[in-house]
Symmetry: C2
């Protein structure tokens, strides 16, 4: 296997972004296509990213007081139909089970595209009194939405996600929960995944089907297209009414609770890959890298081998004892240069090289994946390697975020001329993000989409800017919004 | 809600074991029925047991070198058909997706009942050389097997599990892996879940469809029925041949790899509940209890309240700081006795009571859930509470195992008379386990099943006993086997 990799070059990112993305995902063995249309296989190196991400997010979600639960994969078709907007949004893209145990079912079952309906059916049985509120559950599971065109991690028929569902006594409490999760997602993506974001609420056209308000975290990929990374929905009392969830308040009056739902998915893996990768392959934030550090022993003469290998093993053991996820690449028969390329392709954040001269001087060469060439190279004393490496992993995490944030800032433009706006956003590929005044009228939003394919990605909260003129119609506009072509 | 619980008594375990089981599961809020036939809802207190179990087992599986991955939920119907025994075993109980995205599918998709077929299809693309072996992956996922009769956790259409799949260069290596996992499961169930077991290989009639050999861990429930808790299969080259998995060995010859698969499921929750529970409700091993310790402040006069509550809070904080999962029950309006009953019902392993006299003497009363009445009561100095409680949780874990092991040993009987054997195993309900000589002939096995409903649960490995006579036909028998009526 290994030898073949040198033959297959990765498509340069600047030439063909989509081709580069697929090459990197397949070459780094993160995922593979499956024989089932729209479904992918998460290979161990890809799934390890998801596990690291999931474990950290799970800790953060539990810290809010939500608890994990698990609801059925199947939903009676009639359930989906109860909320009018919800069914309109999801019915066209569901997979339907019609037969079970060799017989045709009396009522077809839908494979969950999201679980509001079945969860709220259960909530109706569990919520009786204000003492049962707030009820906050989260579920990690697979969901299915039939997709015509598959992009690994970004758009697949089956994907993995978490979906939180909460019910509260008051509107204010549910609204606060919606925004608390939005902030939780933002902090998690920025700090843990090194993904820069803009945040805000969605326009009515882009809302979750059945929600009163949807809030979003959006990132901008290097090809100039926006990627929705997570959403938090204020559901009002819509689902409570159709599923008959009512509770006795402190005055002994029956009330409908106020609800939220929120989720992020394996799509975040796509965001990490696209945001940080380069022509050499993946660049993984140390927080999610299955291997954070690779140690490569280097020697030419057989006489040098023993001392070098022993030093490399000691370095490996010391790093592992310090809780760093480290791999020692002792393979014979492949050159150090081949190893360097392979680990760069796989996105390992830091390489530790140990050769005969390093052993003699008691040092190792460190090569950072986030800084190319000499800029990323430095030396560290073998006697204090773990401490040095630990600190450097923190710097790499920060460095990847700063590089991405700078690139994103450079690709966000403000416009007051609709022609210039259309020229930028309507070109081939993504045109970055435009931050423009919009009057809020759906007709103007539609015109933008028809003229440029761009959609409203987010309307930032708490804007303090002076009113301006709508980029489309010129009428007064109180708010600015981000528009972009989206994945 | 709380007040109602006093009215609803749990069915006594001795009167109606199945009724007791359902009462406990529902009253302790571990799970609920769902509107989808055969599918259940895991409520937070039930799912927390699964999470604790899963996290520990995941660590142990990863320590063997297997890595987690994720394969599609859907399997093309034709895949299932490729291995003749496999399709015969699973086709009758699959759920079938016939429509997706509003259209009828060209080929129906089966919702995975197990993933040998799709995983081996992928293995065929990943395995080319002996250097790609061993390939060891594990997957935590949901699976669906259409069931007519549902028993919460024990038999449900959808359940959660892990399934490991490995491929090796040699038969010996694959056989060793099969047995290594059997031993891993045994140690995990006994040490972590406090479940006593017998282990061994299955008879040909009870093998996994498509396996050359199936090994099993079996426990015996208090109602005298056996529960299969996990299986490890030696698949030989059966799936490799039908999915065309071949590798170049060190002599550059094409070979089929040797394979294994193995799994445990949410059924283990049922084993924990049935094995340890009593007429007061659940009794959870501290390892899997979402709440390991509940602290209950007790006072009568308002003047006492402040000091008692402060001491209870300090105890709570100290236990939490020591890494113990502790809950402080400060509710007003319910009596201490009500609280005791509720936490006993929910299976919390240890209760810490703190009253005015305890505050004065600097002590707390501890009440162990594994020992009823005064036998489980003791005092501990508040100044060294965490250390004392930590040690006692270990004793409770051990105590639950010992009680269960003793009960299981008492329910295993040896027979040399077929009439006595049938009388014991063929009665109403489960008759415990019989450990008897069996010649290995399928006709004798069938006769036992027809006469008693009991099946062969396990044939222990490495038996050193002298040959005997088959319990059914009287012909020479080299081995003894466990027979029991099974869940």
């Amino acid at each position: 296997m290994a030898e073949k990799q040198e033959d297959r070059k990765v498509t340069p990112r600047s030439e063909d972004f989509a081709g580069w993305y697929n090459d990197v995902v397949l070459r780094a063995e993160l995922a593979d296509y499956s024989p089932v249309r729209g479904c992918i296989v998460f290979r161990p190196d890809g799934f390890a990213i998801w596990e690291a991400l999931r474990d950290e997010l799970d800790r953060r979600i539990k810290a809010t007081g939500a608890r994990n639960a698990y609801f059925p994969l199947f939903i009676p078709q009639s359930f989906l139909a109860r909320e009018a907007e919800h069914v309109a949004g999801f019915a066209p893209e569901v997979a339907v089970v019609t037969h079970g145990g060799g017989k045709e079912l009396e009522e077809p079952l839908v494979v969950r595209p999201t679980s509001e309906t079945i969860i709220n059916h259960m909530f109706a049985q569990w919520i009786k009194s204000h003492r049962d509120l707030p009820l906050m559950v989260n579920q990690w599971c697979n969901v299915v939405r039939w997709e015509m065109r598959t992009r690994i991690f970004l758009r697949t028929a089956e994907f993995l996600w978490q979906e939180g569902h909460t019910a509260h006594s008051t509107r204010a409490e549910a609204q606060a929960e919606t925004l608390r999760i939005l902030e939780l997602y933002r902090d998690f993506c920025e700090q843990f995944l090194a993904l820069p974001l803009v945040t805000g609420r969605k326009s009515a056209a882009e809302r979750f089907p059945g929600a009163d308000e949807t809030y979003t975290i959006e990132s901008l990929m290097p090809d100039g297209r926006a990627l929705q990374c997570g959403t938090s929905h204020f559901l009002g009392q819509n689902f409570a009414r159709v599923f008959g969830i009512r509770f006795l308040d402190e005055q002994n009056q029956l009330q409908y609770p106020w609800q939220t739902s929120w989720g992020v998915s394996t799509r975040l893996l796509g965001a990490i890959i696209m945001t940080h990768g380069d022509d050499q392959g993946l660049r993984l934030p140390p927080t999610v890298a299955a291997t954070q550090v690779v140690v490569v022993p280097i020697w030419r003469k057989a006489a040098e081998a023993e001392a070098v290998r022993a030093a490399a093993r000691r370095a490996h053991d010391e790093l592992r004892a310090a809780g760093i996820r480290v791999h020692l690449d002792e393979r014979d028969g492949v050159t150090p240069g081949f190893k360097f390329n392979e680990w760069e392709m796989r996105g390992v954040p830091l390489r530790v090289e140990i050769g005969p001269r390093d052993v003699a001087s008691g040092e190792a060469v460190l090569a950072r994946r986030d800084l190319a060439g000499q800029a990323g190279k430095s030396k560290a004393a073998l006697s204090a390697l773990a401490e040095h490496v630990g600190r450097m992993l923190g710097e790499i995490q920060h460095g990847l975020y700063e590089q991405a944030a700078q690139a994103m800032r450079a690709a966000i433009h403000e416009f007051d001329d609709y022609g210039a706006f259309c020229q930028r956003l309507g070109g081939e590929g993504g045109g970055g993000m435009a931050y423009v005044y919009w009057c809020g009228d759906a007709d103007c939003e539609t015109k933008i989409r028809e003229d440029t394919r761009a959609t409203c990605r987010a309307i930032p909260l708490g804007q303090k800017t002076a009113p301006g003129k709508c980029i489309v119609c010129g009428r007064p506009a109180r708010e600015q919004a981000y528009f972009a072509t989206a994945y």
